[in-house]
Structure formats: structure tokens, C-alpha cells
Symmetry: C2
DNA sequence: CTTGGATCGATGACATGTCAACGACACGGC
DNA sequence: GCCGTGTCGTTGACATGTCATCGATCCAAG
């Protein structure tokens, strides 16, 4: 048995980046969620569901695929859809091809709500993040984030 | 009354960065939390509380100040401390100076748990984020994150 | 001293997420 | 056809966070 490797602590620069990142990760979602709720009455997850659904030309998606696309568990999506359904944003339909599946459909009201919410939300993302970054920083963020996501890989 | 400003959509580069950031923000905490729970049985918030407490030389902190430092609500911290207290990680003591206050104290067991958890946690942060970034990217991330936090300001 | 307002931490109701089951259904090998 | 196995979405129990409210305590004005 060899000794365990000695811990490699973070350098001051690394520590600074890590702390700043964590603080941003705490604060930014709160600010965005607050704007979104004020402007359109939607929560962040609500907006995610609606906008992902609208990516499909016919505004329908099989639950399992929608969950996979959003990196959500099927359970979480099912719970959340139940809440959105009572608000008339989405509906569920049976799949004629496979009796196990549920097809999630964006209602007209849901689509209209999304369209009404989108401009202010984009503006909010700009104000709190995108417009604060230089082009270089934005490119660095994109490259790093993509690398991180790839490294983590499948969380199954 | 002037017309509302037309929405400024995100450019392709901005859209790419925004999407990548969101995906990282979904995936990275899950990966870190999984490592931490496996290695030490602590959750992410557990670790935050313990490590912030340990910053103080005497390992004690007034609840209100601890909450402010962590950007948590007092309610959240109170709830979480109640759970950590049953596990023997922290205790609460009255403040002799001011009867309203509660002083949170790190127990020996809590400190030992933190010390045992730290090396693996740092290693996990390195593997999933820090070691994946070039020095330039890390500097850009730190600068951007600090700007974002400053812009959002106080969430009171 | 007393009193009115402010602050502190605790608490209960509620919203939202996770996890482990479960029933319904699909499908390949027999 | 029938059964064993796997997948799908749902559900209930539970964990964790938010929000409104509360009693206890402090403090300053009168």
C-alpha cells in the first residue's frame, strides 16, 4: 500500500476563481428568477419547459425525451407538468403508437405566455450576464463550460 | 409614450455561451455533490456550513452573521442547523451578551469530519472544473463572476 | 421606569426536488 | 399464445428551501 497522494490545495488565483464562481452561481439564478416571475409570472423551470417544448415544430414532445433533453428526471418532469397542467400551460395526451408513453403538448395559452415572456427574459439575461462580459470572456466561458459538461459526462 | 424597445436577441456566440453556462450550472453541482456525499457523507450545504464555521479561529459564529456571510436566509440556516445538530456536527449556545442571539459552534466531530472531507473535495473541484481551465479561462471566469455579483448587488 | 419599535432566531405551512416503489404496457424467446 | 424482462410515467414518502409570522429580547425616547 502506498501512501495517499498529498492534497493539492488551490492556488490563490484558483481559489479566487472558485469563490467568485460559487458566489455567481448563488446570486445569478436568484436575480434572473426574480425578474422572470415579476415580468411574466413564470418560474425558471416553467420557462425551461415551455421554451424546450417550443423547439419542436409541432410543440409536442414525448415525456421521456423531453426529460432527457432537459437533463431532468422523469419523476421531476411529471410532477412539474402536473402543476403546469392545472395552469393551462401544457396538456398530456396518450401516444397512439405506444401505450406506455405520454405526449406533452404546449397549449395555445402556454405558447402565448412564452412569447410574451421571452423579450424581457432575454433582456434580463443580457443585463445580468451577457452584456457584462467582454467577447473574450464570453468565448472563454463557453469553451470552459463545454469542456466541463463533456468531462462530467453522463450522470446516469 | 414611445414604443417599447425592440427585443435584442442573443447573437449565435452569446447563445452558445449562455446555453453552455446553463448546462454546466445544471451538471457541475450534481457531480460535485455526488463525489462529496460518497466520500464523506456530507451534502453541499453541510460542507458550506462546516467550512465557513471553521474560518473563525474559535469555530463559533453568530447565526445572523453566518447567514449573511453565506448569503443564506436566517430561516434556511436555522432549519439546516437543526438537521446538522442531530448529527452532532454543530451545537447552538446562547449569547451571554445578547439574549436574542444564538451562537453556532463547530463540534470536534464536525471539525474532524470537515478535515477528513476536505482533501477529496478539493480534488473533486480540480477534476471537474479547475484543472479543466487554462489560466486565461480561469482569470476570465473570476473577473466575469465578480462583475456579475457586483452588478446584481444586494438581493434584500 | 416604561413603553413602543426593531431585531433575532424559531416555527409551520407550503413549494419543489429526490428516491424507491408501482402498475401498465411492449416485446423477444419459447 | 404466454411468460419473463424491461421501459414508461405516476405516485407517495421524504428532504430541503421559501415565506409569513411569532415570542423573546434589546434599546432609545419620554
Amino acid at each position: 500500500m502506498t501512501d495517499a497522494a498529498p492534497p493539492r490545495w488551490l492556488t490563490p488565483d484558483e481559489e479566487r476563481a472558485w469563490r467568485a464562481y460559487r458566489r455567481m452561481q448563488t446570486v445569478l439564478p436568484v436575480a434572473l428568477a426574480r425578474d422572470l416571475a415579476r415580468d411574466s409570472g413564470l418560474s425558471d423551470p416553467d420557462y425551461d419547459v415551455l421554451s424546450t417544448l417550443s423547439e419542436q415544430p409541432d410543440h409536442r414532445w414525448q415525456l421521456r425525451e423531453l426529460a432527457a433533453r432537459m437533463l431532468w428526471s422523469r419523476s421531476r418532469l411529471s410532477h412539474h407538468l402536473a402543476r403546469m397542467e392545472t395552469r393551462g400551460l401544457v396538456t398530456r395526451e396518450p401516444d397512439p403508437g405506444d401505450g406506455r408513453n405520454a405526449v406533452v403538448v404546449l397549449t395555445d395559452h402556454g405558447f402565448a405566455t412564452l412569447e410574451a415572456a421571452a423579450p424581457a427574459h432575454v433582456e434580463s439575461v443580457r443585463r445580468h450576464l451577457v452584456d457584462l462580459a467582454t467577447p473574450d470572456e464570453l468565448a472563454a466561458l463557453a469553451a470552459l463550460a463545454e469542456r466541463v459538461v463533456a468531462e462530467v459526462g453522463d450522470l446516469t
